[in-house]
């Protein structure tokens, strides 16, 4: 009985209202769909990247239990028999991984040198049908390409792959293309480990050992005992954690993106909430009538909540579909790191994460349900008699909520910024932003009232009327503003953060590029400048001075991303091109000085004067921190030591990079050519001028943030939806009012102008509030979230011009949106609406 009554009521009220207001309905649904779609897209893109990265790691190490790894420069192969002979070890698979620079074309290719007999024991499916070519692979200079690599490089079986080793080119015969199976989806190449060691001048070196333990060996204890026995700089981790370690570098970036996605979901939710609220308000008289007719307030709440859930479910399913679709597009177009370069070389396919999607769906539906529930609760509580009177919704819109919760939230936001990172993630920073946003939302009606009271009373009729309407209903204005506030403040904060970062980066680049020319053998591990080339470089006529840098990556602690070691020619008293953020203090006792990046300072809690043990070249060296510098390139931390110390420890005289100061009067272009001739190389060495490097860095920066721009645009659109929803929800309710005004002598145009003005004022209020809240949020982003995620500091820079332009654009769009959304309400029937009682 109850059920059927309920259903009948639902049909009458909800369905009726929907039919009357198709546009509002569509807007509600598309708002939630857009929010959900954004969340879904970003989440799926991230999820796919991680899944892909994980499977890329797994596909090579198969069912290994333990992974032993060390510096990027590798470790001594003598460890291999040592570990293989341990009783707990069933299979030990040695791997030499090289980021090989491709010769005569752009880019690098990951070459995995392995012992197929050992690797296949861990990963039987590694070679697939190419297993028939196994014996061929044992010959020197043969290589197998994964299907993805063959496609990317447009090479086929029998072709020759040229790679750069040092400054020389070596040719490798492609003897097979690995089948495009599940295991090896990434672009990479397989070589026999012996051939790889020989080809890439890495005799005696390994970069990894994958171990499978005997079934009876306890994994944790064995891991511990292996780890303790390892030489300096090597770590043993459980294979499951190996990919986590690789992912650690991009974790903060991914979390940041996910947070952005959440914010867009939140924006959509706020929008749905305000739409539902307005719609419930509009139907207040209906509800009061129902209450008068004997419908319980509980039933009313159920009715509206149910409506919210239904709308939410429709919008959410549309959003999920749209999100999955656009995730595919995004991955196909921009790659799984959305252009940020964290997963360079990883080819992703969009994978579906049911749990994540379910959570997103729940968020979407919950927001919509809440949007029905809260106003229903309020309507249910109101005395039906009062609600029946015409104009009663005015009462609800007029009353100002208490300021206290909003202020408390703002305060809480401030306190949250003081808390440290959780597990390397700025969780409290995000919480602070959420608190500030929600707090600001709650203060919106008060803000609107205060701001409007402050505005002059215009004499111009449209303006007077529009402002009076807003003044009269701060609740309505607050609700309409919610979405635009959320989205615009997000955009503002991102813009300020990006601008701060970009300008700080630009300043930084100017500091770290002091030389006239930069020569680099490439970013790969296979290319370097050997001592012969160094000698040739020094003797070039236009060269005054050359300083070299050698890069390596060290594993200081398991579970942490590798730390970059830079060995650079420098004068310890005045190290040039080091953007120090601390005072420089050389160790008095003649110990080796080291300059650490801010990330090292934060991650390893090191300060100037502290001692640090570095595993370099298989032995441990103690260095003293002489200064802390800003490094915008390497999040995992960087430690810089004098190159002569490095050479003394390792005997490694190779260099990755040369800084070249020219003799006075030498032209950089001519000097580049002279250097190439002197070194007798062509494209094997990159010679660049500081200006070009700066440009390239900034381009890379812009690429990284490209995706955030897309998210910002989407958020802004949702915000504008908010204004449109607000105005059009009001439009129907105000049809009578427009009719009266028309009677009183306002032309249709003036009416439109009034509404446009209302929209514009709302937009302006939103823009202003957004600027304020966004600025606060940007402070949190710059000083809390960035610091805690990436450990680097930056100066605050405000992009005045873009912010002003955007604010004006917002006001204009808001006015336009309002004018457009009111258009349908301003038909002929507004004359008749005057006759209607409701």
């Amino acid at each position: 009985m109850m059920t059927s009554t309920f259903l009948a009521l639902a049909r009458m009220l909800v369905h009726g209202s929907w039919r009357q207001n198709r546009a509002r309905l569509a807007l509600s649904i598309s708002a939630i769909a857009l929010g959900v779609a954004l969340g879904t897209t970003v989440h799926l893109v991230n999820y796919s990247a991680v899944a892909e990265f994980d499977s890329a790691v797994r596909s090579l190490s198969g069912d290994a239990h333990v992974q032993v790894s060390g510096p990027r420069s590798g470790f001594d192969e003598a460890l291999y028999p040592e570990l293989a002979n341990r009783v707990e070890v069933a299979v030990a698979s040695p791997v030499l991984e090289i980021e090989a620079k491709l010769a005569q074309r752009q880019g690098n290719l990951k070459v995995v040198g392995m012992d197929p007999f050992r690797a296949l024991a861990l990963q039987p499916a590694l070679l697939g049908e190419a297993g028939e070519q196994l014996l061929e692979l044992l010959r020197p200079n043969t290589i197998m390409l994964s299907h993805a690599a063959a496609q990317k490089l447009a090479l086929a079986k029998g072709d020759v792959l040229r790679v750069q080793v040092g400054l020389n080119v070596r040719a490798l015969e492609i003897i097979a293309i690995l089948p495009a199976g599940e295991t090896l989806r990434q672009p990479l190449a397989l070589m026999d480990i012996a051939a790889a060691q020989w080809t890439f001048d890495q005799l005696g070196r390994l970069s990894r050992l994958d171990l499978r333990l005997r079934p009876e060996a306890p994994v944790a204890a064995t891991l511990e005992s292996i780890h303790c026995a390892l030489p300096a700089g090597l770590i043993a981790v459980e294979a499951e954690q190996a990919s986590a370690q690789g992912l650690a570098m991009s974790r903060a970036y991914r979390v940041n993106l996910n947070m952005l996605a959440l914010v867009s979901l939140f924006t959509g939710a706020v929008l749905v909430f305000s739409t539902q609220t307005l719609s419930a308000l509009r139907r207040r008289t209906h509800f009061s009538l129902l209450r008068a007719l004997g419908v319980s307030s509980r039933m009313l709440v159920a009715l509206l909540t149910g409506e919210g859930i239904l709308l939410g479910a429709i919008g959410t399913s549309l959003g999920l579909g749209l999100g999955i679709f656009s995730a595919h597009l995004a991955i196909g177009y921009a790659g799984s790191d959305l252009g940020a370069g964290f997963f360079a070389g990883v080819v992703a396919r969009a994978s579906i994460d049911p749990v994540g999607l379910a959570i997103i769906a729940c968020c979407g539906i919950a927001a919509s349900a809440l949007g029905g529930f809260v106003p229903a609760l309020e309507a249910g509580r109101a005395a039906p008699a009062a609600g029946l009177r015409a104009g009663d919704e005015q009462r609800a819109l007029e009353t100002l909520p208490s300021l206290k919760p909003g202020l408390v939230l703002l305060l809480a936001g401030g306190v949250l910024t003081l808390l440290p990172a959780v597990d390397g993630l700025p969780m409290f920073g995000y919480a602070a932003i959420a608190a500030v946003l929600v707090g600001a939302l709650m203060l919106m009606p008060a803000y609107v009232r205060a701001a409007l009271a402050w505005l002059p009373r215009f004499q111009f009729a449209s303006a007077w009327l529009g402002l009076q309407q807003l003044r009269g209903s701060p609740g309505y204005a607050g609700i309409s503003l919610a979405a635009i506030l959320v989205s615009f403040s997000l955009v503002v904060s991102m813009l300020i953060m990006i601008q701060s970062f970009r300008l700080s980066l630009d300043d930084w680049l100017a500091q770290v590029l002091p030389a006239d020319l930069y020569a680099r053998a490439g970013s790969s591990t296979s290319a370097w400048i050997d001592h012969k080339a160094q000698a040739a470089l020094a003797s070039a006529a236009s060269v005054a001075r050359v300083g070299y840098s050698r890069f390596d990556k060290l594993q200081l602690e398991p579970g942490r991303p590798a730390v970059t070691l830079i060995a650079r020619d420098l004068i310890p008293d005045q190290p040039d091109a080091l953007p120090l953020v601390s005072p420089q203090r050389l160790p008095a006792d003649g110990a080796t000085p080291a300059w650490i990046s801010e990330a090292m300072h934060a991650l390893y809690r090191l300060d100037v004067g502290d001692r640090l043990v570095l595993p370099v070249g298989g032995s441990r060296i103690e260095v003293t921190v002489a200064g802390i510098w800003r490094d915008y390139v390497r999040q995992g931390g960087t430690v810089l030591i004098p190159r002569d110390v490095y050479i003394r420890l390792t005997g490694d005289t190779r260099a990755n990079e040369a800084w070249i100061w020219l003799r006075p009067g030498a032209a950089p272009d001519a000097a580049s050519n002279e250097i190439r001739t002197a070194l007798d190389v062509g494209a094997e060495i990159e010679i660049r001028q500081p200006g070009t490097l700066r440009e390239l860095s900034l381009q890379a920066f812009d690429r990284t943030f490209a995706v955030t721009y897309a998210l910002q645009v989407a958020a802004l659109i949702i915000g504008l939806f908010g204004i449109s929803v607000g105005t059009s929800a009001q439009a129907f309710a105000r049809r009578r009012e427009f009719g009266v005004l028309h009677h009183l002598g306002m032309s249709m145009r003036e009416l439109r102008n009034t509404v446009a003005l209302e929209g514009g004022v709302l937009g302006a209020l939103g823009a202003f509030a957004g600027l304020a809240v966004g600025s606060i949020m940007s402070l949190v982003l710059v000083h809390v979230i960035n610091r805690q995620s990436f450990h680097w500091s930056m100066e605050l820079h405000v992009p005045w011009l873009p912010l002003t332009t955007l604010s004006l654009l917002l006001v204009f769009c808001a006015a336009l949106t309002a004018a457009l959304s009111i258009r349908s309400a301003l038909g002929d029937d507004i004359i008749r609406a005057v006759k209607e009682d409701w």
Binding site: D392, Q394, L397, S473, V740, L741, H743, G745, M746, I831
Partner: protein
């Protein structure tokens, strides 16, 4: 003041056209209070809308204070309405978000009246309708009679030449209805305004100077009830 000649209006279009009235003539002089009666659906409201320039006739002319309404476009008609016409509705139609004073001031705002003069005139108008005690009240805080008095004040504040009142007493009890009509009559007399009152109420019609009845597509002079 108001001269309506040969005014015809049909509803619908094409085959299903139904003539509402044809060749209606109506004259109202300044200071004259005319009641228009007729059965529901006889076209009273439509006639009122035509006179207000809110609707366009099929044929015929409407002249108010020397202006041919039918020759104006929407903007001009709106401008004309705001200066020459006043409206009173059955459901009062005060704007919910405006205070009583602002509701009354609305027509003055529309004609761009200076604020000081406006405030002065609003105060006077509120006194006239006996609402001077509650200028800041919102409509939903008023009783029906108070709302209609505010609406009357609004209709008169800009000294229109013609007041169009559509069932102004329809939502009021007898006492309040009488009070409203008294007010209306007083003001019309004071300002020398013409007034066309559409009503079902014989009590209301009885207060008019003259009564016209709309029926069977014709407008005829009728006996005062």
């Amino acid at each position: 003041m108001l001269i309506v000649r040969k005014l015809s209006k049909s509803l619908g279009s094409g085959q299903s056209t139904r003539a509402l009235f044809a060749d209606v003539d109506l004259d109202i002089a300044a200071g004259e209070f005319v009641a228009l009666i007729g059965e529901s659906g006889s076209g009273k409201s439509t006639l009122l809308n035509l006179i207000a320039g809110l609707d366009t006739p099929d044929s015929g002319t409407i002249e108010i204070a020397g202006t041919q309404l039918t020759q104006l476009d929407d903007g001009q008609r709106s401008a004309f309405r705001r200066t020459h016409l006043g409206f009173i509705f059955q459901a009062f139609h005060l704007l919910p978000y405006l205070s009583v004073a602002d509701n009354v001031a609305l027509p003055l705002v529309l004609i761009g009246c200076a604020r000081s003069e406006r405030e002065q005139r609003v105060a006077q108008a509120l006194r006239d309708v006996d609402l001077h005690g509650m200028p800041d009240a919102k409509p939903h805080q008023l009783s029906g009679g108070e709302m209609q008095r505010a609406a009357i004040a609004r209709a008169l504040i800009h000294r229109p030449r013609l007041i169009l009142a559509d069932e102004p007493t329809g939502n009021l009890d007898a006492d309040n209805a009488n009070l409203a009509l008294d007010l209306l009559r007083q003001c019309v007399a004071r300002e020398d305004t013409a007034c066309l009152l559409v009503t079902h109420s014989t009590a209301a019609a009885r207060r008019a100077d003259r009564v016209c009845a709309l029926g069977s597509g014709q407008l005829r002079a009728a006996q005062r009830p």
